[in-house]
Symmetry: C2
Subunit: 188 residues, 2 copies
């Protein structure tokens, strides 16, 4: 039961970080959404909000990695494309509040709260590594796969910033249309 409370708190924090960011997420709201008693915060997370946020970011990184893997095929282009199609649908369905669960905290406090910055960095490395693995398995050499995955993941993060600003999945559509070029494939 104690374990459940802790897990609920991490999950609630992940969702709140995704929708409202670090500064927009209050401890009372976390406790309320996790249905956790007041004392749970410093009992489970003696390091306070920073520790809880770092753990939520790690959990979010694992969540996004599972989402990536659910789209894995032998064709890297198809894997990224179908992932982005589903990401766009989920974003639209949420009224454009549910974008990347890591990026907002990274921009807000990545540079000033090392515990959170490190968790964001490790999550991004893992996700870029996942995409790089797809590209390499699809025939590219290691260095090329790594460069292309970095560029694709950067463009995804940027397209999500643009999509939230304009409340439209058009930026994700545009990015999908350019994936062949990003992957060095002939465009049709």
């Amino acid at each position: 039961m104690a374990r459940d409370t802790r897990e609920r708190m991490v999950l609630a924090t992940s969702k709140l970080l995704q929708r409202k960011g670090f500064h927009g997420t209050g401890l009372n709201q976390i406790l309320a959404e996790a249905e956790a008693p007041k004392g749970s915060m410093y009992f489970h997370f003696p390091g306070g909000k920073d520790q809880l946020a770092a753990e939520a970011i790690r959990s979010s990184g694992d969540y996004v990695d599972r989402a990536l893997r659910a789209h894995e095929t032998a064709n890297a282009l198809e894997s990224v494309d179908t992932y982005l199609a589903d990401l766009g649908e989920a974003l639209e369905r949420s009224g454009f509040v549910a974008g990347c669960p890591i990026a907002t905290a990274a921009l807000e406090v990545g540079a000033t709260t090392p515990e959170v910055g490190d968790a964001c960095h490790a999550a991004f490395e893992k996700l870029i590594g996942r995409v790089a693995g797809w590209i390499e398995a699809d025939g590219a050499d290691h260095a090329t796969a790594s460069d292309q995955a970095f560029l694709i993941y950067s463009a995804i993060e940027g397209a999500l910033v643009l999509a939230k600003a304009q409340r439209s999945i058009e930026p994700l559509r545009r990015l999908r249309a350019q994936l062949p070029r990003l992957l060095g494939r002939p465009t049709t």
Copy 2:
């Protein structure tokens, strides 16, 4: 003098949004940094924090556009590359707190506060249009220039997210190395 107070408030808000985001920026801090009396907020900005933030985002968009134009040459690749070199230097000098002055607010409240979202969207359109203009002037057709500028600007925003998380300008360096490919130029 009233005009000066208003301008100081917009400037202070722009800087705070860049460093701490929307939710991390308090009205009292804005007033303090702008050296503005208490009543200034609703005297100059009857629409409150949303109105002030939207105006600060517009002002930041103009600021970034001036920074882009300061790097304008006849060669689009060189223009983007030297802009990114200076952006990286400024980011590093700030201890990685001063990234894009628009993206954090876009992720936090772009989808939920239309006044701020619209200002972010308009600013991004202007900046992407600036880069597209460079690429078109450098010989690309309009549609290609627009696609390449969109992709480059998305990648810049994403690389800034990664740079803040890892407190390193390495992502900007990697992006610069891939600019020739993004612009369809032969790589050396």
